[in-house]
């Protein structure tokens, strides 16, 4: 296995507060890598540093051997680093079809094409239709996103990230807020993601983490606390103590 | 040279007194109120009418202008502004531009389009020598009044219960609500007070800034510059920005009459691009 994504001594300070404390993380290609930690451990900050929404105070982010620390968000996306958000970030007035077509167009560098209508780019449309079918959104693809039930919006959230054909996909609590009856559909989609796509999962639900991940990193107070296989982490008394100390 | 500097300070003080209410509107409610100058204009016209038609003393006109405009502000806040606090900025802009247009046309209709003059009490006319500098007495008066107001404002903000509630509400409205502070009441009072100060500033400024129906449009940018360049996180920022603007404008018009205003706008644009959160804000450039 080879390394697909790594951080080198990543530090992020907000004023005097150290949100990310010298994190060096290595993610293997094709891994199902979970990132866990109590509230306030700096998981979201770390994700934002990876995707480029935040600039680190010091340290590097390396994707497939190339330093991407200085690249803006959209350039990282086109290099294959996509994410979903814990709280849906969608286009409320778009239909799912328009949203997915947008993502595909941008990936194919059609986004600046300003003459032919959307429908003229037949390959993108076909791909969008296929993607929507795969994510169970075909029957609602023409409706306004804001009118969709939450579970469907959640699927669209993942579909949008997936449309970028990511090599590394960051899933931020993919099942958060989804009602019980729609939950299995979302989880089935997550489990069915192709093996060549590396998945980094940020999750609070330990059952989901232990059933899905093959490797786990534990963040505490902004720093990497420990890292290991599922069995190692499950057996680690210190990790248990951290979680028992908090709520689990 | 020093005379110009002093004129600039007086001018800047006036700008601050008028614009401070706008800073609070913006900082507290994130409301873009382009009609703030209309309150100042109202204060100016109240003074003109009272003095020229009814012979009321100038010194009595100032508190009346403050109170009447504050009442007007409270009325508009309760009936109209309040509905738009959570509206998109575009709506706020449209609404307040609409108010500006209405006030301009209404004043034009009622008072005519000409410049209004007020006759200052004789003791405020003429010049006085202070430390060998020739200083207009009226500008001295303005500076003194404004300085007293600034100190008073600072004390109210720093020392009183209301001041701490206001600061809490500006910092984080949700937390303040959670602490049991009645944010909308605090804001209504502040809005009225800010409008009143604008009215007072307009009354005092009629002589210096000039007073005609286009006042709110002419000075809209100046008030906005004070607020955006100064930032809304403290009172010091807008105060310094107002002084700088006052001095720059007076000096610019004196030394470079051809390009004065152009430079002010240019500097503003550059400043906003370099420091979008204001010149004196802690966030600084991003």
């Amino acid at each position: 296995m080879s390394t697909v994504l790594e951080t080198r001594n990543l530090v992020k300070r907000f004023g005097g507060f150290v949100a990310t404390d010298n994190v060096s993380l290595t993610v293997q290609r094709g891994a199902r890598h979970a990132l866990i930690g109590p509230n306030g451990a700096g998981k979201t900050t770390l994700i934002n540093l990876l995707t480029g929404s935040l600039k680190p105070t010091s340290g590097r982010v390396v994707l497939e051997g190339e330093d991407i620390t200085g690249l803006p968000v959209h350039r990282r996306v086109s290099r294959g680093l996509a994410r979903t958000f814990q709280v849906n970030q969608l286009f409320p007035d778009f239909t799912p079809l328009e949203s997915v077509v947008l993502a595909i167009n941008e990936r194919e560098r059609l986004g600046a094409s300003a003459w032919a209508p959307l429908a003229a780019h037949a390959e993108a449309v076909d791909e969008a239709a296929g993607l929507l079918e795969r994510f169970g959104l075909t029957d609602v693809m023409g409706e306004r996103t804001s009118h969709l039930p939450y579970g469907k919006q959640r699927l669209l959230e993942i579909a949008l990230a997936f449309a970028a054909k990511p090599r590394v996909l960051l899933l931020d609590e993919p099942a958060a807020g989804v009602p019980e009856e729609e939950r299995h559909e979302v989880l089935a989609i997550v489990r069915a993601l192709p093996a060549e796509v590396t998945v980094i999962l940020i999750e609070h639900d330990m059952d989901l983490v232990f059933s899905f991940a093959d490797r786990i990193s534990v963040l505490v107070a902004g720093a990497l606390f420990t890292e290991g296989t599922v069995a190692e982490i499950a057996a680690d008394p210190r990790v248990k103590a951290i979680y028992l100390g908090e709520d689990a | 040279m020093l005379t110009i500097l002093f004129d600039g300070v007086a001018y800047g003080m006036l700008l601050f007194i008028i614009a401070v209410g706008l800073a609070i509107t913006l900082g507290l409610m994130n409301f873009i109120n382009l009609a703030h100058g209309a309150f100042a204009m109202a204060g100016g016209y109240i003074t003109v009418v009272l003095m020229n038609r009814y012979g009321v003393s100038f010194y009595l006109c100032l508190p009346i202008a403050f109170l009447v405009v504050a009442a007007l502000g409270a009325l508009l806040e309760g009936t109209l502004y309040r509905r738009l606090y959570s509206a998109p900025h575009l709506d706020q802009v449209l609404f307040s531009v609409g108010l500006v247009f209405m006030s301009v046309a209404a004043v034009h209709y009622l008072m005519g389009g000409q410049q209004q003059l007020i006759h200052l009490p004789p003791e405020l006319n003429g010049r006085t020598e202070i430390f060998g500098i020739g200083v207009g007495r009226y500008r001295l008066f303005i500076t003194a009044v404004c300085a007293v107001l600034v100190v008073a404002l600072q004390l109210v903000l720093a020392k009183t219960r209301f001041g701490s509630q206001l600061r809490a509400a500006v910092d984080d409205g949700r937390v303040a609500r959670g602490l049991g502070i009645n944010v909308s009441a605090v804001f209504a009072l502040t809005f009225a007070f800010g409008s009143g100060l604008a009215g007072l500033g307009g009354a005092m400024g009629a002589e210096i800034l000039g007073l005609d129906p286009n006042f709110p449009l002419k000075f809209m940018v100046y008030f906005l510059i004070v607020v955006t360049v100064g930032g809304t996180s403290s009172m010091t920022g807008p105060f310094l920005a107002a002084l700088l603007l006052g001095i720059a404008d007076v000096a610019g018009k004196y030394y470079f009459p051809q390009i004065g205003a152009f430079v002010i706008y240019g500097v503003m644009v550059i400043m906003l691009v370099l420091r979008p959160h204001g010149l004196f804000s802690r966030e600084g450039a991003r």
């Binding site: 959209h74 990936r107 600046a112 300003a114 429908a119 | 940018v221 706008y265 503003m268 906003l272």
Partner: protein, 356 residues
């Protein structure tokens, strides 16, 4: 290609890609109201020759408002200084005709080019910051330009305006007439071509990405939309359009007043767009019709105070809510609503009432 009918869509529902393609085609299909609008606009050349000057004004205001819609309605940039590009176009067209060449189409293109270059440079200043800082930046740029035009009296005529030039025949063929008929046809043609192009832009992937930037900038970046470069492009195009509009005003009136750079131009065009509705291009045209007729009417009954009524309209619109204004038809009785709905969604190639 004509649109696919409802029944065909039902048959092909089994194949999602056909359904998807059909849905996307429907987005960009010509609507009945568009065709009616343009036919009426052409018919008015013959039906209302005495009102040609007013119609010309409507066409110019419409083009200006469409230009604003491109940045406000599509990219979500609130501007209080869009008049800068209008005014620049107006002055450039005037100066070009006075000093170089009187043929209007050339002048129009030169004015559009000048505004476009200025808009390109200015676009970098609106990329960052909040709504308020953008508002101030755009306003500041417009004020600088107004101040400049006022001070450079040797070039622009200062407060007296720029006159003393004549505009030659269009393409050397069509002479401007006293009644404004040629001017109207010319302005309408420019508006139509500009709309054709704008329609393509907004229905293409480019337009979709603009709407994405407006709707959710965080997510737009996260699907790979380079927001800054898209905004630069659309801001430049919008500046060209505004420059065209200003040039049309100069060429149809043979005069440039310093009023072209006044603050109220920028405020008025916002009002125009808001009256007609933001984000679908035709809002600019519909708003221009309503606004210009309203102003014409108000300035007849209260010559000096129409500004008051315009202000009142603004305040009332905001208090009613723009979104309520946009769906005014839902407050009509149900049968009337149905007629409107059919008319609005009717497209050539589909039988009226064929749907459900």
């Amino acid at each position: 290609m004509t649109a696919v009918s409802e029944s065909q869509e039902a048959v092909s529902a089994a194949a999602p890609e056909h359904l998807a393609a059909a849905q996307l085609r429907r987005r960009s299909a010509w609507r009945a109201y568009e065709l009616v609008l343009w036919l009426v606009a052409v018919a008015l050349i013959f039906l209302l020759p005495s009102k040609a000057l007013l119609l010309t004004e409507i066409a110019i205001v419409a083009l200006f408002a469409v230009s604003l819609d491109l940045i406000l309605g599509y990219a979500g940039i609130v501007s209080l200084g869009h008049g800068a590009f209008f005014g620049l176009g107006a002055y450039v067209a005037g100066l070009f005709a006075r000093h170089y060449f009187t043929e209007p189409v050339t002048g129009l293109l030169v004015a559009g080019l000048a505004s476009g270059i200025f808009g390109f440079a200015a676009s970098f200043l609106v990329l960052r910051g909040s709504d308020l800082t953008r508002l101030m930046t755009t306003l500041g740029i417009a004020l600088m330009l107004a101040e400049l035009a006022n001070q450079m009296a040797w070039l622009t005529g200062g407060a007296d305006g720029l006159g003393g030039f004549t505009i030659g025949p269009i393409l050397g063929l069509f002479e401007f007439d006293l009644w404004g008929r040629t001017g109207y046809i010319y302005s309408l043609a420019v508006l139509f071509l500009a709309m054709l192009i704008a329609r393509r832009l907004v229905h293409a992937p480019f337009g979709l990405s603009l709407k994405a930037i407006k709707a959710n900038r965080v997510r737009a970046a996260m699907v790979g939309v380079p927001a800054n470069s898209r905004i630069v492009v659309i801001y430049t195009i919008a500046a060209v359009y505004a420059g065209f509009a200003g040039a049309l005003l100069t060429q149809t009136t043979s005069f440039v007043s310093p009023d072209v750079l006044a603050f109220h131009r920028s405020a008025d065009v916002l009002l125009v767009l808001v009256i007609g509705g933001v984000g679908y291009l035709y809002g600019g045209i519909i708003g221009a019709i309503v606004f210009t007729l309203l102003r014409d009417w108000l300035s007849v009954i209260t010559p000096q105070y129409w500004m008051f009524w315009i202000g009142l309209v603004l305040v009332v619109i905001v208090l009613i809510g723009r979104e309520n204004l946009a769906r005014w038809h839902t407050f009509l009785p149900a049968p009337v609503q149905r007629v409107f709905k059919r008319a609005a969604s009717w497209r050539p190639g589909v039988k009226l009432g064929g749907g459900g």
